[in-house]
């Protein structure tokens, strides 16, 4: 989309003109989409992206799945506590940045990101995106962060950073390759790592995530999931990590040093999906969420 067209579209106040004719009420004659799914589709249309019929079905099914009323999930509600839903659909930043849980808002990208059918891809040089701010998370001790990596890693030196804010207050997970796997909530005191680096690091894409449970006083712990395999670590100290509005980046580290934050180390990885919501507490629930996201990725031809 050209700059001039973006300016013109972004100044539009009435997005209803872009509404697709999919419902009986607007003349389309089809079944009505979930209203939140429709709002996301409308926002994509308004940003200049024509949603295909297959994509529309995939989006609608996934929104219903997140609410526990979809074809792949009728048990769990991941929508009510959803802080960030990023399907990364579209061909440019303005489209892929649209937030599914609030389509009136969009994240920003920095540096040389590439936007394609597999999602948002870093360049390993200077590209990252604003993922979320910790103070957006309503419950510091019951939350989950999930992503779907849409590109297999072809180099063991590649590092995937997913939500990393270090050195002061923070939240996030990261995976080190090739000699270590490490997930973390908060900063280093909350680091999860494999005992003696024994875990073979994943080199293929797929569904990764982490969940934090309970306060330290309650015996808190967090889980790390790698394509269904679960690893658990206890919290080693207490702290409030939701009191900052500083953005936590995706595909980069943001490190506090000498009185300010700086971005360092950038991932050449591709993210096709991201979700932050309330805590997923069991392997059964994780399997259900993974099935929903994998079905969504398959429908978008993003499966790895």
């Amino acid at each position: 989309m050209s700059w001039a067209k973006y300016k013109r579209l972004s100044s539009s106040k009435d997005l209803s003109i872009f509404r697709r004719g999919t419902t009986a009420s607007d003349g389309g004659g089809g079944a009505a989409n979930d209203p939140d799914a429709q709002a996301y589709i409308d926002a994509l249309d308004a940003a200049g992206y024509t949603v295909s019929g297959a994509e529309e079905t995939a989006i609608n099914n996934h929104f219903l799945d997140l609410k526990g009323t979809g074809p792949n999930n009728s048990t769990y509600d991941w929508w009510t506590g959803c802080v960030r839903l990023l399907p990364f659909i579209g061909t440019n930043a303005a489209q892929q940045g649209i937030e599914g849980q609030n389509p009136a808002s969009a994240i920003n990208f920095y540096g040389g990101m590439t936007f394609s059918s597999i999602g948002a891809e870093g360049n390993g040089t200077n590209a990252y995106f604003d993922f979320f701010a910790p103070n957006e998370i309503p419950d510091n001790y019951n939350n989950s962060l999930w992503v779907y990596e849409t590109k297999n890693l072809n180099d063991n030196n590649q590092i995937l950073y997913l939500g990393e804010l270090e050195g002061n207050v923070g939240y996030g997970i990261r995976f080190w390759f090739p000699d270590k796997l490490e997930g973390r909530h908060g900063y280093a005191n909350y680091a999860f790592r494999t005992p003696d680096n024994t875990l073979v690091p994943p080199t293929t894409g797929g569904f990764y995530g982490t969940t934090r449970h309970q306060t330290c006083e309650e015996g808190g712990f967090f889980d790390l999931y790698l394509r269904g395999a679960k690893y658990t670590a206890n919290l080693s100290s207490c702290g409030n990590f939701t009191n900052t509005a500083d953005q936590v980046p995706g595909l980069a580290r943001r490190v506090y040093s000498f009185g300010s934050y700086a971005y360092s180390q950038f991932s050449p990885c591709a993210i096709g999906y991201a979700l932050i919501t309330t805590g997923v507490s069991t392997t059964t629930e994780e399997a259900a969420l993974r099935a929903c996201v994998e079905a969504f990725m398959t429908a978008l031809n993003r499966e790895v």
Binding site: N92, G111, G112, T125, N126, K180, N189, S236, S264
Partner: protein, 90 residues
């Protein structure tokens, strides 16, 4: 070398060279909707301010069309920091 001589498959091997003044002009500015320039220092000694070829190639902001004429140089990655090995480090 300039941008037109590069293939897309070579983008990750080259970057656009900035002067410190040009760097200051780009910080906080959009090269496309929702996309911001992100000048960083490379691994040369002394380091250069650079932006990626993707930012140059995808710039549609008419105020910054001049980036398409930037000199293209090979990308030299800065040395990565040591992995964090202890809970105390951070």
């Amino acid at each position: 070398m300039n941008l037109t001589e590069l293939k897309a498959s070579e983008y990750d091997k080259f970057v656009g060279l900035l002067t410190p003044i040009q760097k200051d002009q780009l910080v906080g500015r959009q090269y496309a909707p929702n996309s911001y320039f992100n000048p960083v220092l490379d691994g040369n000694e002394p380091p250069n301010w650079i932006i990626s070829v993707e930012e140059i190639a995808n710039c549609v902001n008419p105020h910054y069309e001049w980036v398409k004429a930037l000199p293209i140089i090979p990308w030299v990655a800065p040395a990565p920091p040591e992995p964090i090995d202890t809970d105390a480090t951070n």
